[in-house]
Amino acid sequence: MIELEDIEKTYLAGSVETRVLKGISFRIEGGEFVAIMGASGTGKSTLMNVLGCLDKPTAGHYRLEDTDMVNLDDDALSHLRNHRIGFVFQQFHLLDRATALRNVMLPLIYADQYPEDAKEQGEKALAAVGLSDRMGYRPSQLSGGQQQRVAIARALITNPTILLADEPTGNLDSRSGAEVMAIFQRLHRDGRTIIVVTHDRAVAEHADRIIVLKDGMVAEDQPVARPRDAEAEAIALAEKEAAQ
């Protein structure tokens, strides 16, 4: 469960104050698949940073399960990010010189307890995103879609409370994008809490619920009546490619 209560964020550039978030409140239950939408400049990224405990709000409360992150210091936030939040970024952010497996195991380095079977866990996570045969590959040897799947495996390895994806399909072609969304839908069916931040309504409609930001405030918060089926889309796109 995560709960935002009157979250505000104000940036100070010189003497000019910019209020980016102007009191945002919502609640996401465990197991939900939520898309946060908004055009650029609506405070989407700032909200994403707050949700990911990468940045603190200027005012308000943000409760992640039982902890209010607003009261935590930098070390505690790092700790929270490590075991409660799994990040997926638009630019993947993989370590170029490390293999897929090494990349997936990265968060474990910063865990309280380094699991003895870290390698097995990494292999399992890679298998879960369909990359069992690519463990020893470097990011440069993988396609964009495969790189993003490595990033998803990395996000899952610490078994976080929420999976936070920022424009996860932004750098991918439609088919790879659909495949990535299909993975999210599958993880959601397995009971994961997933938050996808996107500007693209077609992407957002894979979720169960869409929160629309406008001007630093929640403009809309509605369930999706019939979420799109990413798997079917991916198959259709693959068939279309094959036909060409």
Partner: protein
Amino acid sequence: MRIMRIAKEGARALAAHRLRTFLMMAGTIIGIAALTVIMAVGKGTEKKVMKRVNAFGTHVIMITAGGGKGFSPPQEGVTTLRPDDAEAIRAQVPGMELLNVFAMKRGLPVKAGASQTQAVVTATDQNWHEAWDWPVADGEPITDEDQATMARVCVLGTTTAKELFGDQNPIGEYVQVGNVRFRVKGVLQTRGVSPHGGDFDSRVMIPLSTGLRRLFNQDHITNIRLKVGDSSRLTQLGEEVRQLLRRRHTITPPKEDDFSVFTAAEVAKEARGISRTLTYLLSALAGLSLLVGGIVLMNILLISVGERIKEIGLRRAMGATRRDVFMQFVTESLAVTISGMVLGSVLGWAVSITLARVTQFPVVISWEPFALSLAFAMVVGVFFGVQPARRAARLKPVEALR
């Protein structure tokens, strides 16, 4: 251990950027190599000094005819040093245990039958064997009776004996020096090579009286060797001897001494010679390399922090604390300097061994430079790694990921 996992991350980053890592190491390698050579040469020199001092004698004062600096052979044509100088020292400077008076000439032709060679011919009193701690291996030594009777006898060094007589026993045979024939009465023990590279065993010893009257036809000597009882008073006694001889030879400033007095202290100073200069030079090189190397290391690390902002942001997002990031960069810096130290030590050893082979410079390989180098490497690694590491740790994850 978390710190070990983080150190491993640092090591992986270094292994992935070999050229950069090598450039970071270069200064440490050179500095530590220089340090290793300094210590090897320094230890070697001390060993050489001790050997020289022991060979010279720790209780010995040596007086040589002719002035000038350095422990050198007596000067030809200086006739002022005489046997009665030795008598005066014995009478007037207390604390002398043994006096040995001798006159030597180098490179004199020595014949025996058809064989001929060159040798140092030393005309000496009977104290020589004891003063130099150099007894005969075979036959008889020079005695006071030989002195009294001006006997035409001699004792040979092993090299000379071999050159003249081969494997034949020389005792009872005759050798000719100039136009005097000497009966061989003994052969000295083998001494080997002198610190200056000469052959100690190429020599003919004859009685002092015989030498001065019958062979050299002179009444001056070339050396007096004194053995003192208390070696701690060596320098002081040496000075007393010098003053006495100055009075006897009526030397007043600005006239230079026409003799030189040498003790173990001077021998040590001379043996250290240029190795001291070399040590200063290499120390400067080592210090400078470590300093410049450290600055280069810091610069490259700072650049690498700039290049790796995204990586740092990612690590922060994955849960790395500021401390984790800081430690990663410090361990990277330390790994660079410690690896550089290992390479530098190996290089230093190689240079030391080559130096020993090629120049016969005295070199001693020991573990101390390794320990000292490790300490230096760690100081440099931490000192120059902290600033970049702090900068990396201070990055805000949000800004780093942007």
